[in-house]
Amino acid sequence: MSSPIRSPDGNWWDNPLASTEKKWLGASIITAVILFGWMFGWMHIGDQNPTGRTYTTSSAQYRKQVAAYKEKATRTEQGLRPAGRDVYIAGLQFGFDGLPVVLEAGREYRVHLGSYDVQHGFSVRDEDDLIQQFNLQMLPGYEWVVPMTFDDPGTYRVVCNEFCGLGHSGMQGKFVVVEGGS
């Protein structure tokens, strides 16, 4: 019998495989192909992908961009209403510059994500249905433009989920999504 703590005898490479093990190998390879195919395919058929253009920037530069965007936006009681389709959000210790923001349901926005200081998390969820949530990373020195379309009106809460200092737990904001055209 073959023991794992003894050197195997003779030409063990040519020892026959059990047929059950061969079938398992086949099933494993098929599993791997399905996993890859579906992930790659979702890029083409799916609507949820953590993708978008990245630009190199600096904290000072990004601050200027966000300030210019806020200048053009309209201040309302619920939050900023962006002038166009671009929405700027910056993480900072300990809050989100640019939030709260008022968006229209069904309209695609280009959401710019960046940071003024350290790494932050961008974790968004539907306030009334917490399971509807997703999470992206925000890095200083980079501006990430992720297109986003909220289907339904409601409040979408944002929390930071990357440890960013002792005030981390208080870092939050929200999207207020209203009916299109209102």
């Binding site: 063990w12 306030e127 020195g141 990430w144």
Partner: protein
Amino acid sequence: MNLALLSAPYDEDGFRSCSVTGLKLHRSAERPVKLFVITAVVAMVLGGIAALLVALTRWEAVGLLPAADFYKWLSVHAWSLLIFWMVFMEIAILYVGGPMVLGRKLPAPKLAWTGWSLMVGSAGLILYAVWVSSPPNYQPLLTSYAPLESHPLFYLGAILFILGAVVAALPFFTSIWQEKVENPDRSLPLVTFGAFMTSIIALEALLGGLITYVPTFLWRIGALESIDASWYRQMYWTIGHGTQQINLVAMITVWYFMTYVAGGAEVISEKVSRSAFILYVFFINLGAAHHILADPVVSSGWRMWNCSYATYGAVLASLIHAFSIPAGLEVGRRRKGLGDGWFGWLKSAPWSDPGFSATTFSIILFGFMGGITGVLMGQMQLNTLRHNTFAVPGHFHGTVAVGTTLAFMGFAFYGIKLLFRRDWVAKWMAKAQPFFYAGAMGIVVLAMMDIGIIYGVPRRHPSVMDLPGTAFDFSASAPLFGVMGVTAVLAVLAGAAFVIVAVGSLLFGEETRPSEMLPDYSGLETVGTSAHLTSMRGTAALTAFLLFVLGLFYAVDWMWLARLWEFGA
């Protein structure tokens, strides 16, 4: 009291032979193994105390610690258990898998002691840095994501710990070298081969660690002006995940060893098992890319390449071991006449032997919890559902806290008998411990995963039931946190039971007589057909069930994702 450490059963050349495994052990290898195992257990005690404090804080009905203390103890918890407990055990496993299994002396034993001293000293430095950190030095947690600054001594400690581990691994490499020079035509035993592959992966990871921490240290002391957050993340995960891959491969090596010693397993195919280890060497560290799946900067092509072809090389290897280890047990036991039917070989197994039960629970829970969630999180889009939520620590407690830790506990139970030659004290506690720990920790893991995926609760957060500045909170998840809190306390108690048995046996255990030590399969005659023609239908059923559960969760996850609003280009 028995001073087990000091007893000297060796012959004139310093060898003794083990009555259970038949191995020839030399004291130059055995002594450092004892030292590394004991050090690992000390780290585990510290990490376990920290675990209790962390769990009682996140269970906000108790809400033990304020934020600053929470992050401090979370850092102690992470470094003590994910790094110190694991790496000290792994050096011991290298010495067992190399010189001991090969029946050799440990070459250059002074390097083992030097490595150990460096590792212990630097571990102390890291813990000191964690202890004295206050803003602008932030707690490193495990990741110390730049540009958030940690204490300069922390980075220095990390560098020295890596160097210490490399020094401690050198005698192992030398022993493999000597073996191949003296016996060029003899294949390494599978356990030695696995340990060798573990050490190659470890070197890759440790090299990545130096590339990460040296520039980060220079940046922290002001010698470098700035550090790129994306560069740091990509480099950090070569060691951050790399060290966990060492845990994985070391654990699998222990699985092969323990199923053989405790269960009477055979190796059903040397070719397949060894090929799987080689797949790990090529692919598993690339899989670390799954940590930056929700990141900007790296392209989607890069992310999908590294988390598909590259990762599947490793996933394939894991699926191979997931079959060949239980199949080895099934075939080994069937051929010894220990059980028939579909699962007779499992029913007749020595479940009251903690070495066997710990190993078996480790295999099952690792596969179903750590393994399945790992595959799900490795899909770029599904990763956005879990990234930095409580489901992430849920996943890696499924791999490390139930998988690797249980395997190492089983291994340590046997170490007490085989190396220290002491009988277990409080036998009832030793027998019950793996059941108790696997049950409690298994529920902790399920609760953590559910809290993360169902409620999107962030990880690394001391108070989600009350967020400053808003009426919004995560109190809907409070009942599940209650489940997690209660079972986490039980799991810590089960961990304490392990320490009581381990330390108690070393101090007060009776010297064992070889005849009554452990299950001895060598006397049983092997019957029936040859290994590859023996039925593996029990394993086939179990592994088919694993694939079915994977498929089920895979489908559910994608349906969940598809319900979300649109994002991404």
